[in-house]
Amino acid sequence: MGRIVLDKVTKSFGETQVIPPLDLTIENGEFTVFVGPSGCGKSTLLRMIAGLEDLTSGNILIDGEDATEVPPSKRGLAMVFQSYALYPHMTVRKNIGFPLRMEKMSQAEIDERVEAAAKSLNLVDYLDRKPGQLSGGQRQRVAIGRAIVRDPSAFLFDEPLSNLDAALRVGMRLEISEMHERMQTTMIYVTHDQVEAMTMADRIVVLQAGVIEQVGTPLELYHKPQNVFVAGFIGSPKMNIFSGPEAEKHGAATIGIRPEHTDVSMSEGTWKGTVGVAEHLGSDTFIHVHNTGLADMITVRISGDISVKHGDTIYLTPQAEQIHKFDAQGLRIE
């Protein structure tokens, strides 16, 4: 079990309010990702759930019980830190077994559980090493192992992969996703990596300055961003967003069109512009288009390759049904 409810929680550091009143329900077994720009309060929120940070007001309910005053170790949650926070003087075996040792579990049972966790994380060969003798990815696994053995009702991850190189990140991402499929335990995962959020999450919570901008499945956020902020934040390359006469034509204050929803032609189209930088990725091409009179730059994404040169004239046509419209408050118009 692991249903977590945040009921009007707030957090202030001294005078500054970092989290204004916030409500959120995380269902049992759900993989929830918190995303948002740096400093928006993702870590603070996670630490409040973990109990490492006191609430200024509001309540946290875990499985229906008020956990606001419950000490961190009694909440049944396990956390994986960005810096791994392994105990440097203990071997991997002792690190993973530490929470069990604190529960005064018998040595035989500790050994058994540690072995099992190590096996599922491919750490068996490293059990007698110290954290200092492991690679970044292995350390990350040990940190996850230390969380798994406790059999928590929910896992909390604070940017667990941001210290790893790109290739390892992809691998670990899959491992964590598989772990979630296998265990079906609630997981809350903080990241500012879009791809991690989109690929791993059952539900994404987009935060800005402590305020929830939208909660939804990755595809909901992609297809129906509730406001301009979410529209610009989710998706890579970013959605092209502009206001002005062109927006008014569609009856909106602001409109947005994703780079992949714009057709390109060298001879005719709705908008005319000149090619700036063209990024050829092989599978895709990103073209930066200038002088359209709409925005400083419009990005378009073309599947496959196209031969354009810097300075070429190019015509763009947005796919009409893919245009996102927003009112003067920045909220979505259907």
Binding site: L52, S73, L86, Y87, H89, F98, M102
Partner: protein
Amino acid sequence: MSDRKLPRLLQTPAVLLLLVWMLIPLGITLYFSFIRYVLNSLRHPEWTSPSLSNWRGFGNYQFVLNSKDFLLAIQNSLFIVCSILFLTVILGVLIAVLINKSFPGQGIVRVLLISPFFVMPAVNAVLWINMILDPVLGLQGIAVGGINDILDGMRTMPVLGGFFSLWPEFEPISFRATQTSAIAVIMMVTWQWTPFAVLIFMTSLQSEDQQQKEAATLDGAGTWSQFRFLTLPHLGRPIAIVVMIQAIFHLSLYAEIEIVSRGNGNKNLPYLIGEFANNNIGAASATGIFAVILANIVAIFLLRMVGKTLME
């Protein structure tokens, strides 16, 4: 000349200087320890200048080993050094952990805590033995006198008086006596060197990783477990450093011992060397060699112990 030779050549003066610096005193001590060499002798005037013709072999060592003070001096050296190390490390860790938390007036408290370290050893000894430990005029005398006065008052009380008259008068302890002078030395040196330990431990505590502690909190570790499993291992190396440096310093304690009891019943090896050196340089040198050996044994033994218990 190959690539290696020139740097080597340029290093030689420094290396030679260092060797000379260390080896000559050690060599001379060794040499003196194997010959008869005294400062004054009416019967054997030829012994008053060092010369190989006065060769005594291991005679000086035998003389020292047989002298009644030698065993006492070794025991005392070890007793004093180990007690001081034990006390300063424990007090140092406790105080460092305490003042590492932030509280108002932190700066002042830290400066005050460090101040004993700036007192000269001889002054420290004079201060303690005369002003604090003196059985009559020192703080101890006054305190014991005060308690006895209160007890006297209680004895005259109507009902309970009978009970209190069963109590003996308290006797102040004389710290210049044979049995207690080592204790006095331990107290004053501990007072002086605890700040050193605190200082080193405090710097180390400040570099402790806070996320590890948070992780441990989540893992269910209480304050004591965090101290035992995270802080103490983290302090392992600084403790080894404190133990090492202090062991070397305190094996050569001299001023305190001289001032407290003039070595009466409380000699350590350096003090014994000093006594021999009044006349018998050969015996003093032999004792010096013993002291070097002892220092090495102590250092190795202590480091092993600290390393084993803390670093797991």
